[in-house]
Subunit: 357 residues, 2 copies
């Protein structure tokens, strides 16, 4: 995979699997973790020997910089199993690049490619029984990096921990979601860290989202912080609008996460000869389209939910209901196509599937 | 102090003090901590019995939400000792209010006033030998709250830990600092979390600050994210400009931390009949004033450094040196006044000193 020569990974296996205590038909997202985890510490200017050890709590100083200054970035990806018990990831090269892009923006040292892929594969093979075959089932994989140096000066840390933990998952959202277009709060600034998967970006959304939820909307579609006129992305999904038969989605910029699902949808649209414009999308345009009936669909795109249809949006006190299409919905089409590729049930012309060896 | 009836604090004393191993004449900020720390956990919908225990590492799950979604806020305050061995804090009511303002913005439950003050006082009395008398010496006190719930769904946690740790300190910066006015990067957005002491706000500044440092500037003065035309605050200080004999400083808004030192300087200026305008300050105004000689001083105001004079600024490729005033400097005047009040060496007309009982 790479030119780095990795240290051998030190593996300590768990004595007994917890898997029999888990009810796979009743999974709540992100609460149950597999038997093992991957750990690699950065100190003395370099990443140390990677380890895989039994999943467990860890010891950390109260002065660890992550608690005070939020130096923490993460990724989210999924592993799938086909009927032959082969394990696949979906475009993990993109997640690898992105975690290092995020890290660089937060002054965290980049993680070596070979450590990432060797660690990931070794971990997934050890915990392979946690990945259930069948469309909709997956193992959510969470790489993350935190600043562990025990010193509370407001500057980049000299010690970090890179980890991968895994949690079995079913589809994240099942129902179409009702969303609110942001008018006052914002997610990120020009010149800020919105394009990074930085921990602090998420906590910042919780309070505005809780206000939206009180009004009956599960999520917020963030708009640009300066004018609130352009629609950008949701809390954990990029966002697409279908106007008649054309798709539109906001361009990447330093406020928006460059989503793997988003870029895959854009490619699939091209493959399927669906017109997809990547350009600024104004709130006014979408409201007019909702009024004149040309707004056919809105959907989110992200690893957790794959594709998440939107059934209504609110802006300026007006609520617009979006009738869900019985057939020929783009949301269903893309979800189907993506799941087929992810689960090794279809061709893979762009080589997005990554087989764990 | 309050109407809450606190649970009794459970105190476990350390068996032996580490104090003799500390070289108080060679302190690096934020690396050495006192013998005890304050802990209070939130679970089952309420804050549990507060505890003071020996300072030590703690056990936390890799899935603790703080690592993934950055739900973490903090405060910074200082304790001082006078010649009679009395311990004082400076306006701790402001820090208490502010940590709860920060918490609310990050969907973290507010902390009870009585727990805060009882915890703080009990802790400071236990670790009183760590507070050295003498102007310039202090004990830096760091209250913080982190989301500890072991579940990686992107929503507010149901479990938190509130802590107070303390670190002996000398003055933070000694030399005047050279600063860069931000032209591309930004610290926070309108409608964002800039006014909160949220952990993620700090990590976001590290990379731009490291670029500034490579160019020979220790800090960045952040400008508004939309236009970069108005000067807001520095990474850990609010900022004042002296034009002839008039002071100007940016107004509070949702991007700027409402600094305790800043508001104290504004009050002292009023007391001293120094004209202080709280209004937007444009980069152009400051550059013109630097050119025509009316810009006499720039200084930062914050708990760590108290007052920190600026000796040069850069913008648009131009560097402006600011000659340091030998006498009648406002920076020196305010620093002197504040230190006198903090160390119980002067009158305290506004009741800013808080005596630990
Ligand atoms: C803010 C944000 N936008 C968009 C996405 C979707 O990105 P991806 O498709 O890579 O999962 C995520 C991902 O989880 C996200 O956190
Ligand atoms: C961003 C920021 N601005 C200003 C300040 C100064 O605030 P205070 O005077 O309350 O310490 C701080 C504090 O540490 C800060 O973090």
């Amino acid at each position: 995979m790479t030119e780095d020569t990795p240290n051998e990974i030190v593996v300590v296996k768990s004595e007994q699997s917890k898997i029999n205590s888990v009810d796979f038909s009743n999974l709540i997202f992100g609460r149950v973790f597999t038997d093992h985890m991957f750990i690699c510490d950065f100190k003395d200017g370099k990443w140390q020997t990677p380890q895989i050890i039994p999943y467990q709590a860890m010891t950390i100083e109260p002065s660890a910089r992550v608690f005070h200054y939020g130096q923490a970035v993460f990724e989210g990806m999924k592993a799938y199993k086909d009927e032959n018990d082969d394990i696949f990831l979906f475009r993990p090269d993109q997640n690898f690049k992105r975690i290092n892009t995020s890290a660089a923006r937060l002054a965290i040292p980049e993680f070596p490619e070979s450590y990432f892929f060797d660690g990931l594969q070794t971990l997934l093979k050890l915990d392979k029984d946690w990945i259930k075959p069948g469309v909709g089932n997956s193992l959510y994989v969470r790489p993350f990096v935190i600043a562990t140096e025990p010193a509370i000066s407001a500057s980049p840390a000299n010690q970090y921990r890179f980890m991968i933990i895994c949690s079995p998952a079913k589809a994240y959202y099942n129902e179409p979601v009702r969303v609110l277009f942001a008018e006052k709060f914002s997610r990120s600034a020009d010149g800020g860290v919105g394009f990074a998967k930085a921990a602090g970006n998420y906590a910042a959304q919780f309070y505005p989202t809780s206000l939206a939820q009180k009004k009956g909307f599960q999520q917020i579609i963030w708009t640009d912080a300066s004018t609130h006129q352009y629609l950008e992305e949701a809390g954990t999904m990029n966002i697409f609008f279908r106007i008649n038969d054309k798709l539109v989605t906001a361009p990447n910029n330093d406020r928006i996460l460059d989503g793997v699902t988003r870029k895959s949808v854009i490619q699939l649209a091209e493959d399927l000869n669906i017109d997809c414009e990547v350009r600024r999308v104004s709130v006014e345009e979408i409201k007019s389209a909702a009024k004149d009936g040309s707004l056919k669909e809105i959907f989110g795109a992200g690893t957790a939910a794959v594709i998440s249809p939107v059934s209504a949006f609110e802006h300026g006190g007006d609520v617009f209901e979006i009738e869900q299409m019985e057939k020929d919905s783009y949301a269903s089409l893309f979800k189907e196509k993506l799941l087929q590729i992810q689960h090794n049930l279809s061709e893979d012309p762009h080589h997005w599937r990554y087989k764990v060896k």
